[in-house]
C-alpha cells in the first residue's frame, strides 16, 4: 500500500491546511521587505485579511442563517474606536482593548437582534441599516471619544506588554488571528450550531419541529457576526493606525456582503477568495490598467455586477470554481484512462 506523502498528509488534515495557509500568507512581509513584492501589497493584503475576518462573521449570518445585515461597517467602526480609545485614552493593554472592542458591540448587537429578529428576517436588514446610520452619525458627533472628523489614532499592538510590533509583525499577527478565526468558524459551522443554522435556513418549520428556537439561534448568529466585525475593526485600528468616521459607511457594508456572496456562501476559504476578488483585485490589478483604472467607482460596479451574476448563475460562489474545475479534470482524466486501456 502506497504511503501518503507528507504534503498529502498535511493537506488532508483540515487544521494543518489552515496553518499552512496562514504560513504562506505570513510570508508576505518577508517578500515585500526583500523587494520581491511592492510594499503596497502589505497594506492591501492586510486589508484583505481584515475584511475576511468581518466577512466570515457575515457568512455565518447570511450563508448559514440566511439573514442580511447591513450594519457590518458600523460594528467594525465601533470595534475600531473602542480599541483605539481603550489603548489610547485609557492606556490599557492591547489585549484589554481587543476584548472590550469585541464584547461591547456584541452586547449591543444582541439587543438589536432581540428587537428585530422577532419578526421576518427582512426587518433585520432594515434595522441594521438604521443602526449603521445612527452609528455613523455618532462617530461624527461624539468628538471627545472618537475625535470626530479628524479621526482617532492608534498604535501597533504591544503583545503581553512586552513585544512591540511593527507593520510587518502586526501583519503576521493578523495572519494568526485569521487562521484562528477560520478554525473557530470551522468548528461552529460543522457542529450542532451550524446544523441548526442550516436547518433554519433550509426550512423554518422543520427546524422548529426539531427543537431549534428560531429567535435563539438567529440571535446567536447575529451576535457572532457582530463579534467578528468588531474584531476586524479593532485589528484595523491597530494596523492602519488611524480611524476616520467616513470609513464606516453603507458601501463598506456592501463590500463585505459582496465578499461573502462572490467568494462563496458557507465557504471559509471562499470568503478569503471573495475578499481578494472584491478588495485586493481592484487595488492590485484594476487600478493599474491604463485609462480604465483611473475611473472612480469602477470597483463598485465590478463588485455589484459580480454579485448579480453570482446569485443568478453561479450561486456556489467563486470558490465553487475550484471544485468544478477539479470535477471537470477528473472527468477528462477518466476518459483518457479509458481510451488508453
Amino acid at each position: 500500500m502506497k504511503q501518503d506523502s507528507i504534503i498529502t498528509k498535511i493537506t488532508k488534515n483540515t487544521y494543518l491546511r489552515f496553518v499552512l495557509f496562514g504560513l504562506i500568507i505570513s510570508m508576505i512581509p518577508v517578500l515585500t521587505g526583500g523587494g520581491i513584492l511592492k510594499t503596497s501589497w502589505l497594506g492591501i493584503i492586510g486589508g484583505t485579511i481584515i475584511y475576511t475576518i468581518a466577512a466570515l462573521g457575515l457568512n455565518l449570518l447570511l450563508g448559514y442563517s440566511g439573514l442580511i445585515s447591513l450594519g457590518t461597517a458600523g460594528f467594525m467602526g465601533l470595534g475600531a474606536y473602542i480599541s483605539a480609545y481603550v489603548t489610547g485614552n485609557l492606556g490599557l493593554p492591547w489585549e484589554v482593548g481587543i476584548l472590550a472592542a469585541v464584547i461591547i458591540p456584541v452586547i449591543f448587537g444582541i439587543l438589536i437582534g432581540l428587537a428585530s429578529l422577532r419578526m421576518e428576517g427582512l426587518y433585520l436588514g432594515i434595522v441594521t441599516l438604521c443602526v449603521a446610520e445612527v452609528l455613523r452619525k455618532t462617530f461624527d458627533e461624539l468628538e471627545p471619544l472618537t475625535g470626530g472628523f479628524s479621526g482617532k489614532s492608534a498604535e501597533y499592538p504591544t503583545l503581553l506588554g512586552i513585544f512591540k510590533l511593527n507593520q510587518g509583525t502586526t501583519f503576521v499577527l493578523l495572519c494568526v488571528v485569521l487562521v484562528l478565526m477560520m478554525i473557530l468558524t470551522y468548528h461552529l459551522a460543522n457542529g450542532q450550531l451550524g446544523r441548526a443554522l442550516n436547518a433554519m435556513r433550509g426550512s423554518n418549520v422543520a427546524a422548529q419541529a426539531m427543537g431549534v428556537s428560531l429567535l435563539k439561534y438567529r440571535l446567536i448568529a447575529f451576535a457572532l457576526a457582530t463579534g467578528y466585525a468588531s474584531l476586524a475593526g479593532a485589528l484595523y485600528a491597530h494596523f492602519v493606525k488611524f480611524v476616520y468616521p467616513s470609513t464606516w459607511n453603507l458601501p463598506l457594508s456592501l463590500v463585505i456582503l459582496a465578499i461573502v456572496v462572490i467568494g462563496g456562501l458557507r465557504s471559509i476559504y471562499g470568503t478569503f477568495i471573495g475578499a481578494l476578488i472584491v478588495y485586493a483585485l481592484p487595488d492590485l490589478v484594476l487600478k493599474r490598467i491604463p485609462i480604465i483604472g483611473d475611473i472612480n467607482g469602477l470597483s463598485y460596479v465590478f463588485s455589484g455586477v459580480l454579485i448579480i451574476l453570482v446569485v443568478l448563475f453561479y450561486p456556489g460562489g467563486c470558490v465553487k470554481v475550484f471544485s468544478d474545475v477539479k470535477l471537470l479534470l477528473q472527468k477528462l482524466f477518466k476518459r483518457k484512462v479509458k481510451k488508453n486501456v
Binding site: H187, G191, A199
Partner: protein
Amino acid sequence: MSEQAILTPSLNENEILRVENLSMHFGGLKAVEKLSFSINEHEIFGLIGPNGAGKTTVFNCITQFYKPSEGRVLFLTKQGLTENLVGQKVHNIIRKGLVRTFQNVELVSELSLLDNVLVGGHIDFKSSGFSQALRLPKARKEEKAMREKAERVLNFMGIDHMKDALAGGQPYGVRKKVEMARTLMCEPKLIILDEPAAGLNDVETQQLAETIREVRDTYNCTILLVEHDMRLVMGICDRICAISFGKFLACDTPERIQRNSLVQEAYLGEKEG
C-alpha cells in the same frame, strides 16, 4: 365537573394524547370545531377526512404551529408528566417527546443525509457552545456518539450506505426515509406522520406500512397518521378518527369506521385512496 378536574390536566390510564374541544377559527372561518378524540399508548392511530376536512389544521394545532382558538391538547410527556400543549412554544414540543414529519418533506438540501438526521438530535446535545467552539474533548465525544446514533437510525431505515450523499439530489422515497429517520433520533413517544403515503406508489406504500409497524414495535412509541390513502390507513391503524368540515364524525376500529354511515356520507363523491 369539579374545578379540580378542570385545573389539573389528567389523562386516563392508557391514553397518551387527548384532544379536548379543539377549535380553530381563522377570522370568520371555522376550520376545526370542538373536536375531541384520544390516542392510546403504542397505538397506530389514524386521522382521516375528505379534502378540506381540516386534518392538517388539527395536526398543526396539536404541534403548536397554529395556536388553537379553543380547547386543550393533553399529552403524557417523556418526563412522565401530563401537560397541555396549547400555548407551548413550537420548538419545545419535541422536548416533550412529540415529533412530526412534513408532507413536503422538509430537509436541508445542502446537507448530507447524515447531517439532516443529526438535526433531529439537536435537543440531545448537551455540551456548551463554548465547548463546541473549541472542539474540546467532551464536545468531540458527544459529536461522535451522536453521529453513530444517526448512522444506526439510517441503518434501521435501510439507507445508511448513502449517509454522506447530499439530500438535495435524492429521490422522493429516500427523502421520506431520511425524514422518518430524523424523527427517531430523539426517541419520541409520539410520532405524527403528515400524509406519509403522498407521492408513493403501491409497492412503496406497502413498504411504508411495514416500516411504520417496525418503528412502533422497535421504538416502543405511538403513531398518529394523518392520511388520505385509505388502504394504508385501514391496513395498519388500530383505531381511526374521522372528521369532516372540522367536526368529529366517528372514532372506532377500521372495520366499524368503514361501515359507519356518517363517514360514508362524508366521503360520497370522494375518490378512494
